[in-house]
Amino acid sequence: MSEPLLEVRDLKKHFPVASLLFGKVRGWVKAVDGISFTINAGETLGLVGESGCGKTTTSKLILAAEEPTAGAIEFEGRNIVDLTDRDLMDYRRKVQVVFQDPYSSLSPRMRIGEIIGEPIQTHERVSLGEVRTRVGELLELVGLRPDMARLFPHEFSGGQRQRLAIARALSTNARLIVLDEPVSALDVSIRAHIIGLLEEIQARLGVSYLFIAHDLAAIAHISQQIAVMYLGKLVEVTDSLELCANPLHPYTKALFAASLPSHPDEEMKEIVLSGEVPSALNPPSGCRFHPRCPFVMPRCSKREPDLVEVSPGHKVACYLY
């Protein structure tokens, strides 16, 4: 087992909802409500869940773009909430991000050399010549040509742009890259390339990923561990192959059931969930999944189940286990 790089403990982020008049707070959206997980060095944690479940808020908290309401994010043994500005700058150097839409995440007015070189110049005192060499190396690392550094983003296709975003994330020798739906906006034939590239880079550089997606098949392919999120809570955390073979939480089962067959005769156990994801402003009492759960029991609506380890390395928050 490799050692933990990032540990998140009981992390919470609540957003106030102000009433229209006088700005009085009339409620809280508990976007992330007490989640804990660990990302090991050189490994990938997949975070899966539907829109509005708090995946993106989690990623913003980890990127130190939002301050947590409560809880700790420990990176290399230090809580980032307590870091000084100078240390936070160094933290931001080590933790980078790749967004979903490669069209809006690269400035159209900058040349590729500037886009990838800027983080290097921000964080390190190096000569322009060295920046240029490093940019060239990074472009080669992501499968592009060094001479492309003088081009502008519009001269690249979607898949190539996503490669550029990966090169930028790697430019400051990041230890952790948050990948927020990095392949959802790409065509199928290009997705396989990007997933392959990410795996190859991890094997070479030992960088860790937090891979956020809603596509279970892609997430299971790239991740060692998977955390399933529902309405601000983690409902199941385990090894990716274990999760595919033996999903326990009814919500995880429903997600698997909702994933599409890989060929026409694949029999899917269909658990069609009724209803839609409830509002995070007013989440259901007890287990947040109980109004949609096909196996609901009386106590599910009374007290919220804890995330407990039911077999080695397999944690689930459900009264069925």
């Binding site: 059931a257 067959p261 969930l273």
Partner: protein
């Protein structure tokens, strides 16, 4: 001049689900827009025929097409907010096709709208039909678009990536709903998607498009178990499968620019099996048994995968 769709032929039988698969820019959407005469002003149908129950649609005027759209052929688009008018109540939007195409009035119309909303599983339709699109969730809006599509009693529904904007559990609900509606009314579906999983779940017959042409067309099982065109095979190999970590196959290169297509077979620069013949001469459509066709020089029996 860009040939967005270049000489494609297919047929759709009553009650059948036909899948049109391909990557962005391959001509799927242009094909659908041609069928219902909703092409942008710069585009035109240069040649070919589109027949609906023996009647040619290409020669029809926009005025005549108004009697076809909604009554004979309805469409469901990707973004429900682009299909629904934010200023009209749900009742008005679902009632409109029934009013014009089925000539329903008064309490009959009201009853029909309630029935349609109930069929797409809108809870308490009586109350909900007074509401407006912004009061609905994404999944509900797309179900209402489904109700609008059904309202005119069409023979064909063209669904252009209808579930791309929906969450996975809502997507499954929606696909099941479309199947139920089809079973109940016998409508034929043209399903446009880039997702082969949806094809496997929904379709009877599939056409794979590449650079404006249908490169392979087969019944769904044939396509998944015995794909003949290298592009189809590459697409199937590039999808991650649950529970395995086998490396994925990435198709080398980029989809071609339609304004500057490669010579010969358009796929040859990305094809592993390309020969000189492929580079120089465009393959014609070859019959591959089981009623399917493939546009590849290698689409013979020996090339078929086990």
């Amino acid at each position: 001049m860009v040939k967005a769709v270049d000489g494609i032929s297919f047929s759709l039988e009553a009650g059948e689900t036909f899948g049109l698969v391909g990557e962005s820019g391959c001509g799927k959407t242009t094909t659908c827009h041609s069928i219902v005469h909703l092409l942008p002003p710069s585009a035109r149908i240069v040649s070919g025929r589109i027949e609906l129950a023996g009647e040619d649609l290409v020669s029809k005027s926009q005025r005549e097409m108004q009697k076809v759209r909604g009554r004979q052929i309805a469409t469901i688009l990707q973004d429900p907010m682009a299909s629904l008018d934010p200023l009209f109540s749900i009742y008005n939007q679902v009632a409109e096709p029934a009013y014009y195409h089925q000539a329903l009035r008064g309490s009959k119309l009201r009853h029909r709208v309630k029935e349609l909303l109930a069929a797409v599983r809108i809870p308490s339709p009586e109350a909900r039909m007074k509401e407006y699109p912004h009061q609905m969730s994404g999944g509900m809006r797309q179900r209402i678009v489904g109700a609008v599509a059904q309202a005119g009693g069409p023979k064909i529904i063209i669904a252009d990536e209808p579930t791309t904007n929906l969450d996975v559990t809502i997507q499954l609900q929606y696909l099941n709903l479309l199947k139920d509606l089809q079973r109940a009314s016998g409508v034929a579906l043209i399903f446009v998607t880039h997702n082969l999983g949806i094809v496997a779940k929904m379709c009877d017959k599939v056409a794979v498009m590449y650079a404006g042409k249908i490169v392979e067309m087969q019944p769904v099982r044939g396509l998944f178990y015995h794909p003949r065109h290298p592009y189809t095979r590459a697409l199937l190999d590039s999808i991650p499968k649950l529970g395995t970590k086998e490396p994925l196959y990435g198709i080398p290169g980029q989809p071609p620019d339609l304004a500057d297509l490669p010579t010969g077979c358009s796929f040859h620069p990305r094809c592993q099996h390309a020969s000189d013949r492929c580079r120089n001469q465009e393959p014609c459509e070859q019959s591959i048994g089981n009623g399917g066709t493939a546009r590849c020089w290698l689409a013979s029996e020996e090339f078929a995968r086990e």
